[in-house]
């Protein structure tokens, strides 16, 4: 009877009889003995799964975005073109103009005729919102996180408690944060309006106010993620030896100068890693908006690419156009992540 274990062993273990036969190696033997082949049970399954469900899905999505897939039925792959991209990015001037009234506080006006006959709208409005949210949220979050980290780093009492309190919101899901801030922002019972009215001012509509929508979303996200920025900065600060602070003080640096010229430059790595994570979070803030506005209809002043994408696909059944927006989001994320990964690669950390 053949013993399968022995067979496997023979096949998978280093063969003991090493021969010097002038460089010609038995090819069958060497194939099964290659490290890559012998380790296949470990890397092949995840390789296939990730390849199919991540990279395969991305590729399929790109192909879908080139079709005109709409409504029910299955996509027609015979006629691939960039029509959707042209529509999405159509008329930058008009597109940007369409942004302006809402920046000034108004709603989006009638569309300009050049793209009115298209079945879909360009994405400038939601793209602009995405960028505003991304930049605003990230910058405020980093600044607040740095300030908190510097405060907490001063060997204050109850340091661990503060750290936990600041970090706690991070552990909540987007859905919880959104519902929580809906209460906070409520016109009649929300804490913010209670404070405002008790000071003698009129109550302010926040959640449905086009002027305040995006800031309100950004604020809630800052509340949730500044603790994360703090932890990253705190780790960076802790990595700086005490003697650097002491050396700077002996050399005559004031506290402000010490932080600006000695500490901040050494926090560059921390800033970059926090920046990448936060920006990517801002890009995919879909579930937050989805929960806050009970669906994917936050209105033009808070519409970001992610909500737009889902709305086009599932509400309007513009599957191909939804895929197009997904690709745009994907490219934006690549633009943010690639320089970071490349710099890590150059420093030999990958």
């Amino acid at each position: 009877m053949r013993n399968p274990i022995a067979l496997l062993r023979r096949r998978w273990s280093d063969s003991d009889d090493v021969r010097t036969d002038g460089g010609t190696v038995d090819s069958g033997q060497s194939f099964w003995n290659r490290d890559s082949v012998r380790s296949a049970p470990f890397w092949l399954p995840p390789f296939l799964l990730v390849g199919l469900f991540v990279y395969g899905a991305i590729l399929w999505n790109i192909v879908l975005s080139l079709t005109d897939f709409q409504g029910l039925g299955s996509p027609d792959y015979s006629n691939l073109d960039f029509e959707n991209y042209l529509a999405a990015l159509a008329d930058p001037i008009d597109g940007l103009l369409s942004v302006l009234p809402f920046v000034n506080g108004g709603a989006v006006e009638a569309r300009s005729p050049s793209w009115a006959q298209l079945s879909v709208e360009p994405i400038w409005n939601s793209a602009w919102n995405t960028v505003v949210l991304m930049v605003g949220f990230t910058v405020v979050c980093l600044a607040l996180g740095l300030a908190l980290a510097i405060l907490v780093d001063h060997k204050i009492r109850y340091e661990n408690t503060f750290r936990t309190i600041y970090l706690l919101p991070m552990s909540l899901s987007f859905v919880v944060t959104a519902k929580f801030w809906l209460y906070m922002y409520n016109v009649e019972t929300g804490l913010i309006n209670v404070v405002i009215t008790s000071l003698g001012f009129g109550a302010v509509e926040i959640v449905q106010n086009p002027d305040l929508k995006l800031p309100a979303v950004a604020f809630a996200l800052v509340w949730q993620f500044s603790g994360y920025a703090m932890i990253v900065y705190l780790a960076g600060l802790r990595a700086i030896p005490t003697s650097h602070f002491e050396a700077a003080r002996i050399d005559g640096a004031s506290t402000l100068r010490m932080y600006r010229r000695v500490v901040l430059p050494q926090l560059r790595t921390a800033t970059v890693s926090a920046l990448v994570v936060l920006t990517v979070f801002a890009l995919k803030a879909f579930d937050f908006l989805f929960s806050m506005y009970s669906g994917y209809q936050p209105g033009p002043s808070a519409d970001i690419l992610a909500t737009r994408m889902v709305r086009e696909a599932y509400a309007n059944q513009n599957w191909a156009y939804g895929s197009t927006i997904a690709v745009v989001l994907f490219v934006m994320a690549l633009f943010i992540v690639t320089p970071y990964i490349y710099s890590q690669y150059q420093r030999g950390e990958l």
Binding site: P241, S243, H244, I250, D251, G252, A253, P265
Partner: protein, 394 residues
């Protein structure tokens, strides 16, 4: 250049007293090492001089000024740190000139000073390099240049060589001495390495449990240690200690006796004392003739032998170790340093003598030294049978 004075400096943390009533008077241009075991308060002492910690009590003077509450930058000091503390994002030149730039010196003056400082520590052609492109020794030189460049009155060095490898450390030791000769600036140097302290300093301040034990030139600390702690800390390998009692005729212990006149030292029979003798003051009995004031012969047995090349360390056991517990056996052990051509072997019966003129006596209660070297007495040279058990060994 300035004198540094600490008056009754005490530093208490919540429940620990790190520095306890420290009085130090360091002369202008002196090289003083603060030496002691880890956690003895030497670094805290230096931090109070630097102004990085404020003392709970007491005053600090640098030059003629009282600086107790002054911020570090106004004290005229420069500091070199154990972990070197170069700013990793600045090149060598920017690191050296950091303090000058903060003080708004004009760029010509900065260039001139950086050039001079880097010449002194031999950093030619490295000014544009980043710290992570340099070796440990080079980085330490940059740190020293950063201290020199500001022409401080006092250099504070906190174990600057501790992170370097052994060979480089010895090399940097001589460089620091050369630097001191060249700059003639007061240097206060913290170390736990007594060899560093012995070789470099004009005076050693030995610190233990936050208290100053002794401040004297290295050889005085070595030859006339003020107390048991200093005697044990200075010197490598350290001094032999034998606990015992005073009798009518001198000193007695489990292992051997030494004769002297207790009255002349103000001791009375029954006082408990510890006798200390350095390894190089213990001789094999056959070299008795070359010993200036040999004691009575002590019978012993060799235990472990450590050949060092230029000398051999021999551990001899003066008591019958079979009957002793570990602690007592340790107390009855003597470390002897003999010349490298000696033929002493392990587990061999041997007779040793101590040099009476080099024997130290310490009061057991206070730990303070009673005398360094016993006065010669009439019995010198006679061989008296000791009352130890060791004689019955075979």
């Amino acid at each position: 250049m300035a004198r540094v004075k600490l008056e009754h400096v005490t530093k208490r943390y919540e429940d620990v007293t790190a520095v306890d009533d420290m009085n130090l008077d360091i002369r202008d241009g002196e090289f003083v090492c603060l030496v002691g075991p880890s956690g003895c308060g030497k670094s805290t002492t230096m931090e109070t001089i630097a102004g990085l910690t404020l003392p709970t009590e007491g005053e600090v003077y640098i030059g003629d000024r009282e600086v107790t509450r002054l911020p570090p930058k106004d004290r005229g000091i420069a500091m070199v740190f154990q972990n070197i503390a170069l700013f990793p994002h600045m090149n060598v030149k920017d690191n050296i000139s950091f303090g000058l730039r903060l003080r708004k010196y004009d760029s010509e003056e900065i260039d001139r000073r950086v050039q001079r400082a880097s010449d002194i520590v031999q950093l030619e052609g490295m000014l544009e390099r980043m710290p992570d492109e340099m070796s440990g020794g080079q980085r330490q030189r940059v740190a020293i240049a950063r201290a020199i460049v500001r022409n401080p009155d006092v250099f504070l060095m906190d174990e600057p060589l501790a992170n370097l490898d052994a060979k480089l450390r010895v090399h940097m030791r001589t460089e620091l001495q050369r630097l001191h000769k060249e700059l003639e600036t007061t240097i206060i140097y913290v170390t736990h390495d007594q060899a560093e302290a012995m070789t470099m300093s004009d005076r050693i301040a030995v610190i233990d449990s936050g208290e100053l034990q002794q401040i004297d030139p290295p050889l005085v600390c070595y030859n006339e240690p003020a107390n048991l702690f200093v005697a044990g800390f200075i010197g490598s390998p350290s001094m032999n200690f034998t606990p015992g009692r005073v009798t009518d005729g001198g000193f007695t212990s489990e292992s051997y006796d030494i004769e002297f006149d207790p009255a002349s030292l103000g001791l009375s029979p029954g006082d408990s004392v510890t006798l200390g003798v350095r390894p190089e003051d213990v001789y094999p009995a056959e070299q008795r003739a070359s010993v200036s004031d040999p004691s009575m012969t002590i019978e012993a047995r060799t235990d472990v032998i450590e050949p060092m090349g230029d000398e051999i360390f021999v551990y001899v056991v003066t008591t019958d170790e079979m009957e002793m517990d570990f602690e007592a056996a340790e107390a009855g052990q003597l470390l002897m340093s003999v010349s490298p051509d000696s033929t002493i072997d392990v587990d061999q019966d041997i007779e040793v003598v101590l040099d009476r003129s080099k024997v130290h006596l310490f009061d057991d209660e206070t730990g303070q030294a009673i005398c360094h070297g016993l006065s010669p007495n009439a019995q010198t040279g006679t061989t008296t049978e000791t009352e130890t058990e060791a004689g019955d060994d075979d």
